[in-house]
């Protein structure tokens, strides 16, 4: 079984977000990049499947050379091979198109992406890949079990959880539940050492087409002062919410 994990390299969750070049570019200065949290659940799941089913696990990232440390981390966690498609992602469509082209040339049974990237939050890449490859797509996936030919999944829906059966090849947009927080793997020394010798293949991008274009960024307006209310004067809070800000 061959598994491909799509990894987006994102700013660490504690990062302060700033922009440069007239607010057109994300300011990478001083930013620590990490594996997108949703992709980390997927990667860990893939490593578990590797141990259970002797699966092969590749990771793929569309990005420039600056994403390689994050890819090495994925190798240190246990992936067998990394593929970098050398392109600055332009939009979800171009990123997905590159990954789909790679999959067309290399057979994969399960493609694991995250339900969204924590930087651009598009939640679009796996769905686009599924359409290009015409394979089943399970979004917001929080459970994946393989027993022989049978694949059982679960996914979050607005209002509950759905259990699903489908066939390979398939793609998921994963999240917590694929594995638990406590099962996430921190690379150990041995992992880090062997990661250095594992293959990290660089492929040139073929896509030039993108369908959307980022113009600029702004930060949300800063909130005013917090109005403190005495704990013995709760009616004042209710009055404020009801008559001043009118939210209840």
């Amino acid at each position: 079984m061959n598994i491909l994990v799509c990894i987006s390299s994102v700013p660490d969750t504690t990062s302060k977000i700033n922009f440069t070049e007239n607010n057109t570019k994300f300011d990478k200065n001083g930013i620590q990049f990490v594996i997108n949290p949703y992709d980390e659940f997927g990667l860990t799941k893939a490593i578990m499947l590797k141990e259970k089913l002797q699966a092969n696990v590749s990771v793929i990232t569309v990005g420039d050379a600056s994403v390689e440390p994050v890819m090495r981390k994925a190798l240190a966690i246990g992936a067998d091979k990394a593929v970098r498609i050398n392109m600055q992602p332009m939009d979800s469509f171009s990123t997905a198109n590159e990954i789909a082209s790679y999959v067309k040339q290399n057979k994969y049974d399960i493609i694991i992406a995250g339900k969204e990237s924590s930087d651009y939050n598009s939640g679009a890449v796996p769905g686009i890949i599924s359409e290009i490859l015409d394979i089943p797509f399970v979004n917001a996936c929080n459970g994946l079990n393989i027993e022989g030919e049978e694949i059982n999944l679960s996914r979050e829906i607005d209002g509950g959880i759905e259990k699903i059966q489908t066939k390979i090849p398939l793609i998921i947009g994963g999240q917590k539940g694929l594995v638990e927080e406590s099962e996430l793997k921190i690379p150990n020394m041995r992992g880090i050492m062997t990661a250095r010798t594992k293959p990290l293949e660089v492929i040139e991008a073929t896509t030039t087409n993108h369908l959307t274009e980022s113009i600029e960024f702004e930060k949300p307006s800063v909130k005013g002062e917090c109005k403190m209310i005495d704990e013995n004067n709760i009616s004042e809070l209710v009055n404020e919410l009801q008559n001043v800000t009118k939210v209840i």
């Binding site: 969750t13 504690t14 949290p37 949703y38 939009d91 997905a96 924590s118 930087d119 651009y120 939050n121 598009s122 679009a124 796996p126 769905g127 686009i128 599924s130 359409e131 290009i132 394979i135 089943p136 797509f137 399970v138 979004n139 917001a140 979050e156 829906i157 607005d158 209002g159 509950g160 959880i161 759905e162 259990k163 699903i164 059966q165 489908t166 066939k167 917590k176 539940g177 927080e181 369908l211 959307t212 980022s214 113009i215 960024f217 702004e218 930060k219 949300p220 909130k223 917090c226 109005k227 704990e231 709760i234 009616s235 809070l237 209710v238 919410l241 009801q242 800000t245 939210v247 209840i248």
Partner: protein, 316 residues
């Protein structure tokens, strides 16, 4: 020419976010002299379908025999129904986010998700969207002729706009490439992502047995309940309630945070709320820097008082 809207129902009733999407479409239709075409998938009765016309849908096409969780099939339907359309609008639900990317590929249309601004020019579409977990707003332009967008819940008002309409019911059936083998429905009546008021609690509550008062407070306010990440990690509350950077991003009118410290990852998912109230024993809790109203106090003392106060006004 028309603007297409995907309308989603939950157990036979349209979602609030669906009405938001129809109203959103109607505004663009008005400025560009177009009609609004609504596509409904799944069993639904005619009275419910008619409601779409109260918000501006002129043409309502219903496919009762197709299930909404057959996303591949739904995408095919929407593509076929959109031949005369260069804008397809979805709301930001999980279901829509499984369909919209497929439609965008079929129509070679740019996809823009989490949209929070209106469209003023259909010929030259550019909009604002939430990004960086609500820490930034991105302006983005469509380069293709056709566009697919998903709008954020609670970002747009629902206003009545009654129009004349016609309903077409189509009997098509389509195979799915996934089969649904079971479903667990959340207990809470109000969907967290669509709720106008959210009551949320954190580790300060000490244990799952103390959530009764949180649920009671939510009931008084007609609110959905939410929680911080550690609370769902320990299993005090279901994961579906986890809000923040790695949980749900929400944007209610009112967010009440009880015993939540206000870590950057938590705030990232709730910062788009219009008004935030923090209740915390620690006057230095970071949440007070982000909140509009703050009460320094013990939740076990403050929450019951707040419930009493709300009951008073509910009784009047």
């Amino acid at each position: 020419m028309s603007i297409t809207v995907y309308t989603e129902n939950w157990e036979g009733k349209f979602r609030k976010s669906t009405f938001e999407a129809v109203c959103y479409a109607k505004k663009i239709a008005d400025i560009s002299n177009k009609e609004v075409k609504a596509i409904s998938i799944g069993e639904i009765d005619e009275n419910e379908l008619k409601k779409l016309s109260n918000f501006g849908a002129n043409t309502i096409v219903s496919y009762p025999k197709i299930k909404k969780n057959n996303e591949k099939g739904v995408a095919t339907i929407i593509k076929n129904e959109s031949e005369n359309s260069n804008l397809i609008i979805f709301s930001n639900t999980f279901n829509a986010k499984s369909i919209a990317p497929r439609v965008s590929v079929k129509l070679n249309a740019g996809l823009i998700t989490n949209v929070i601004s209106e469209i003023n020019d259909l010929e030259n579409i550019s909009v604002k969207r939430q990004s960086f977990s609500s820490k930034a707003i991105e302006s983005i332009r469509l380069k293709s002729n056709c566009g697919v967008i998903t709008i954020s819940p609670n970002a747009f008002n629902v206003t009545e706009n009654v129009v004349s309409f016609n309903i077409e019911v189509k009997a098509n059936e389509l195979d799915s490439n996934i089969s649904i083998t079971g479903k667990d429905v959340n207990k809470g009546k109000i969907s967290l992502s669509e709720a106008e008021v959210v009551v949320s609690a954190g580790r300060g509550l000490k244990g799952p047995e103390n959530w009764n008062m949180i649920e009671e407070l939510a009931d008084c306010l007609g609110a959905a309940t939410a929680c911080s990440k550690p609370v769902s990690d320990i299993g005090w509350r279901p994961h579906s309630e986890h809000v923040g950077q790695t949980g749900k991003a929400i944007a209610p009118n009112l967010y009440i945070a009880i015993g939540i410290s206000g870590a950057i990852q938590h705030l990232a998912g709730v910062n788009s709320s219009k008004i935030m109230v923090a209740i915390n024993t620690d006057p230095e809790a970071p949440f007070f820097k982000a909140a509009d109203y703050g009460i320094v106090g013990d939740a076990f003392n403050v929450v019951p008082k707040l419930i009493d106060e709300l009951k008073k006004i509910n009784n009047n």
